[in-house]
Amino acid sequence: MKQSLPRPRVGVLVQQAREEEDEEQFKPLEWGLIRRLFTYTAPIKGKVTTLAVMTLIRSAQLPVLVWVMTLIINGPITSRDFRGIGLGVLGYGLLAVSIDVLFHFRQRFALEIGETVVNGLRTEIFAKLQLQPMSFFHRLKIGRVIGRVTSDVESVRVGIQDVLFVSVIQFGSMVFSAAVMLYQDLVLFLVVLALAPVLWALNRHFRVKLSLYSRASQESFSRVTATLAESVNGIRVTQGFVRQETNAGLFRNLLADHARYNIALARTSAILTPLLELNSQFFVALLLMVGGWRVFHGDMAMGSLITFFLLANQFFAPIAIIGNQYNQALIAMAGAERVFRLIDAVPDWTDDPAATELPRVLGQGVRMEFRNLSFGYVPGRPVLHEVNFTALPGQTVALVGHTGSGKSSIINLAAKFYLPTSGEVFVDGREIRTITSHSLHRQMGMVQQQNILFSGTVLDNIRFSRPEATDAEVQAAAASLDCLDLFEALPEGLLTQVGEKGAGLSVGQRQLICFTRALLADPRIVILDEATSSIDAMTEARLQHALRQLLAGRTSFVVAHRLSTIRHADLVLVLDQGRIIERGTHAELLARRGQYAALYRQFVQVDDTA
């Protein structure tokens, strides 16, 4: 398939932007935030200082250049001094060269500083995310984090690389041209000065309006993309139910709606630009009248009039630019605030500083005990009540029960993804809080229900659990699960990309990759959330075999959906509303004819409802 050109902020990302509707767009300038942002420039401190100096020089350069031009026109040209013209042009040229050389550095350094801050922020966001416990990720909306590392960080970049330096330069230009004009003629300068606030107010008013409209337009656009995404994902249903035309009509309505917002946006900006231009024309007319009158009355030199004509632009143009930069600065502040909020998010819990490593005992599963354990994800809403059980080294514990009965919570606690609300978990006789998460997880192999794989090859994915493993070790692991031939039969064998559409990895194949990944870690604890998706019968037989290999000699917790898994478990815990209502082996539980037997009967008795 042809590689599609990536386009950030289109498509899926836009859809996610919808979630951010409640977030503020602007935030007032805050010194603390600005200072904190600049701490990220530490690696290139020298460039920051150089840039600050260059910025100051540059703020004077542009008006000086124009001034030199007016000097040449008013001086040598009007007085027909040919040598003067030549010298003037030479001076102008030298100044121009210096301006453009400086411009190169000023621009490059600013861009580099912006990128350094962006890079630093992204690194820190990611690093801080890794320190968060699972509870954080369960609450997290992925679109928000993506918003932080893309649009928010980008607005901070603009703030750093443009706003500050551009504003200083533009402000400098204004001040300098003002000074020159003031020096030339006070009255005319006052005219210029009087126009400035009008321009500023005009600009601000429209900028704010523009931001609002552009927001509305973005929101309507995200409705367009969300609908589009749904249409693409639901295409089978649409065609199957012959809804193509109805949908096309609805989509056209959405497009028309989006167009309306865009036109409103365009109308506003269509007023602003001509108004700004009108203002400068108004000034020219005024200049001609007032200036002309003053020149005729001898209050002012002809040269000054020309200076005003040429310099006025240096004074007016920055007003619009600074106004725009101010807007950007407010957006950058809002972005920075959100980014720092994410960076500063305090983890719900961290390892006890006194926690020590769990020693690794080779070739033996752990002993795990749940003692009087209660737990709730949200305070006051317990999902597990007084759970007590012991898994002996090497045992398989199967967890059975309806959705929401607490199976996954037990797994989450055994993995120390969450801490118990009350009661204890003992691993090899030690309370789980006194064991570092890192050392526990290094002895654990997990297979999630969704069979999560990362983009990359099959080999990369298997090696995820132990990056230092050699190819031979990976192959050995796959072979011991009896699925090496299956991986090698893939289009590019172990080097097949797992993410690409059309690579055609079935659910069963994905699960086998996850099994191999878990096995490669040679864990003492295996945690397995069986996929519910029905796997075709041929693959199921294969999975059962692999599963037995994976669990052999390790302590394991299995949320089991398949009979064959439950049947082989050493201990079956039947859960209902957070309590263990029955426990025992498969045979014991059947003999008891309780809840488990009823559940099982429902499952195997095929003629019940037929």
Partner: protein, 624 residues
């Protein structure tokens, strides 16, 4: 893969450009209007500038007795007998009047461009692409990611319309303005014009070259950023995996490497950008130097007036370089719109593989007799996925299909509603080849339930009525009752008006499937296709939908893909597929008696005798 993705079929740039011109031709009146306004604006701009120059010269004439003032370009002579201030007043008034007209026209211009682009071009194009998308075969959707398809309707359409407003209109405007500026400047002083514009070709070349060089770098940068975001996304989605194996350090290293790759690559871009803009700036200033030097010399020799000459020239020169700088933007836009056009036209040109024959038979109600007559199917050029299938199903019969992934079960079913047409053989409904029947009639007579049924973010009622939006509430409720969904729906806070997809309104897999069944039975279809409807449901809650299935199946010709004995046994007969062929067929009882794949699968799921003893059940199916 389909013809959509064969690089050999890619149209050349020339073909694309011709088509883009064709697109612009559709909006020719609008384009002309926009261009007309620009033309007036241009003349007003030059006029205003000349008036300013005139004013300067007039003051200078009065003060320093320089030669009398004539505005050459605009053929405008000032009334000599008027008092000076009145003349200045006239000039100022004229400048203001010009400016006002310009402002008004600028507004009209901006609004009409946006009307053309936002109200017509983009809406039309997106509508067309979307409409076409809806008709494309599923293969297109399998071969392209959702993100890439969305981009075609959003970003790529924008790139295409850019050809009209950014490339065509802008080039014409640029051409006209540059010509006008040159003519006007030449009328003031031909030699000065030549001297000042000597650098222009260099500027044009530089701009075009820069844009060509920088484009791929930006594209690369976008890819790198996307990769970085991808790593982040996967890290969050797979947080449990990273934590479960305690590989946070490796995850960080991976992200930092991707982040650093963006950073390093950006530096190259920074260098280019920081070389280009000062270079352009410098060339513009060289023009100004020539103007000051040569123009100054001309003024000093009274061969050029100061105001209408030098000052006006300076102004024009500024406008001129502004326009030349546009070259970079236009070159950029051309490239971008070509890329976009290729992707958009790919969709617009894609053949709709399945459509109703012109002389199709109308059959609003079908009985539901389905027959496969030596049916084979292969995706173009690929190996056949369905081979020589013969199968006859009487109205109201239920057929279960068992087979491994890729055995051709889903494809076989897709041939009935003509999602694909067979490559060989015929599919017959009620004795007619489906290709001879009206497509809408066929599909309206077929109810579909998929593995994971897609529900739209809309109300429950609207989702059930998806295939028949005019359905009454009674019809919807009746369908929901058949699908055993009525009870849980009325227990929801907003009942049938509950909007799906919003947080807090998430339904369980079993509930979603029951809605999908309700959606299918609302149409009262003669044929029901169920593609592994229990796949995404916990085995503990699987029984919830059996009741719904049983009621839905009753009286309809049904094809159901299934893996569990509990489902398979419900069928009147079962076919077992392997490698696109029917390997076994018969009733459950018949198949249980013969050795083969069915028996193997059944044995895996059957209960061992000890269990039955323990349960106190006798006489069930027992593994040998």
């Amino acid at each position: 893969m389909s013809a959509l993705n064969q690089p050999t079929n890619e149209p050349s740039n020339a073909v694309l450009i011709r088509r883009l011109f064709g697109l612009a031709w559709r909006y020719r009146l609008h384009c002309l209007q926009v261009l007309g306004i620009q033309l007036i604006l241009l003349s007003l701009g030059i006029g205003g500038l000349s008036l300013t120059g005139l004013g300067i010269d007039y003051i200078r004439h009065k003060m320093e007795n320089t030669p009398a003032v004539v505005a050459k370009g605009i053929h405008f002579t000032l009334p000599v007998e008027w008092p000076p201030l009145r003349v200045l007043g006239l000039l100022a008034g004229l400048i203001l009047a010009f400016a006002l007209v310009r402002a008004a026209l600028n507004y009209v211009y901006a609004v009409s461009v946006n009307r053309l682009v936002q109200l017509k071009l983009v809406v039309d194009l997106r509508g067309e692409v979307y409409e076409k998308l809806q008709q494309l075969s599923f293969r297109f959707f399998d071969a392209n990611s959702t993100g890439s398809i969305i981009t075609r309707v959003t970003g790529d359409v924008q790139s295409v319309r850019m050809f009209v407003d950014q490339v065509l209109i802008q080039s014409v405007i640029m051409g006209i303005s540059l010509t006008a500026y040159v003519i006007y400047m030449a009328s003031l002083s031909p030699s000065l014009t030549v001297a000042c514009l000597a650098t222009t070709p260099v500027l044009c070349l530089l701009a075009a070259r820069f844009s060509r060089k920088i484009q791929p770098e930006y594209a690369l940068n976008r890819t790198l950023v996307e990769q970085m975001v991808q790593i982040l996304t996967e890290n969050i989605q797979g947080a449990a995996v990273t934590k479960g194996f305690a590989r946070e350090a490796e995850a960080r290293a991976k992200f930092d490497a991707a982040n650093l790759a963006c950073f390093t690559q950006q530096r190259g871009i920074f260098w280019r950008v920081s070389l280009f803009s000062p270079a352009v700036g410098f060339l513009t200033r060289v023009n100004m130097m020539v103007l000051l030097g040569f123009g100054g010399w001309l003024v000093a020799h009274d061969r050029l007036p100061l105001g209408t000459g030098l000052v006006v020239f300076a102004g024009l020169l500024e406008q001129f370089s502004g326009q030349v700088n546009n070259v970079a933007t236009i070159v950029n836009s051309v490239q971008q719109s070509l890329i976009g056009a290729r992707r958009v036209f790919e969709i617009l040109d894609a053949p709709v593989e399945v459509r109703t024959a012109p002389d199709a038979i109308r059959r609003p109600r079908l009985d539901g007799a389905v027959e496969f007559d030596h049916v084979s199917f292969a995706y173009d050029g690929a190996e056949a996925v369905v081979r020589d299938i013969n199968l006859a199903v009487k109205p109201g019969q239920c057929v279960a299909i068992l087979g491994a992934t890729g055995a051709g079960k889903s494809v076989l079913m897709s041939l009935i509603p003509r999602f694909f047409d067979p490559t060989a053989g015929r599919v017959l409904i009620d004795g007619h080849d489906v290709r001879r029947l009206n497509l809408e009639d066929v599909r309206r007579n077929i109810g579909l339930v998929f593995q994971e049924s897609f529900l739209f973010s809309n109300t429950i009622a609207a989702n059930i009525a998806f295939g028949h939006p005019e359905a009454t509430r009674e019809q919807i409720e009746r369908a929901a009752r058949i699908a055993a969904a009525h009870e849980f729906i009325i227990d929801l806070p907003a009942g049938y008006e509950t909007v799906l997809g919003e947080s807090g309104n998430s339904l369980s897999g079993g509930q979603r499937q029951r809605l999908a069944i309700a959606r299918a039975v609302l149409l009262e279809p003669a044929i029901l296709l169920l593609d592994d409807p229990t796949a995404a449901i916990d085995s503990e809650t699987e029984h919830e939908i059996f009741e719904a299935l049983d009621r839905a199946i009753a009286g309809r010709t049904t094809f159901i893909v299934a893996h569990r004995l509990s489902t398979l046994r419900r069928a009147d007969f079962i076919i077992v597929m392997e490698d696109g062929r029917i390997e076994q067929r018969g009733t459950h009882e018949e198949l249980m008696r013969q050795p083969g794949p069915y028996l193997r699968v059944a044995n895996l799921q059957l209960v061992d005798p000890r269990d039955l003893q323990l349960l106190g059940l006798a006489g069930g199916e027992v593994a040998p």
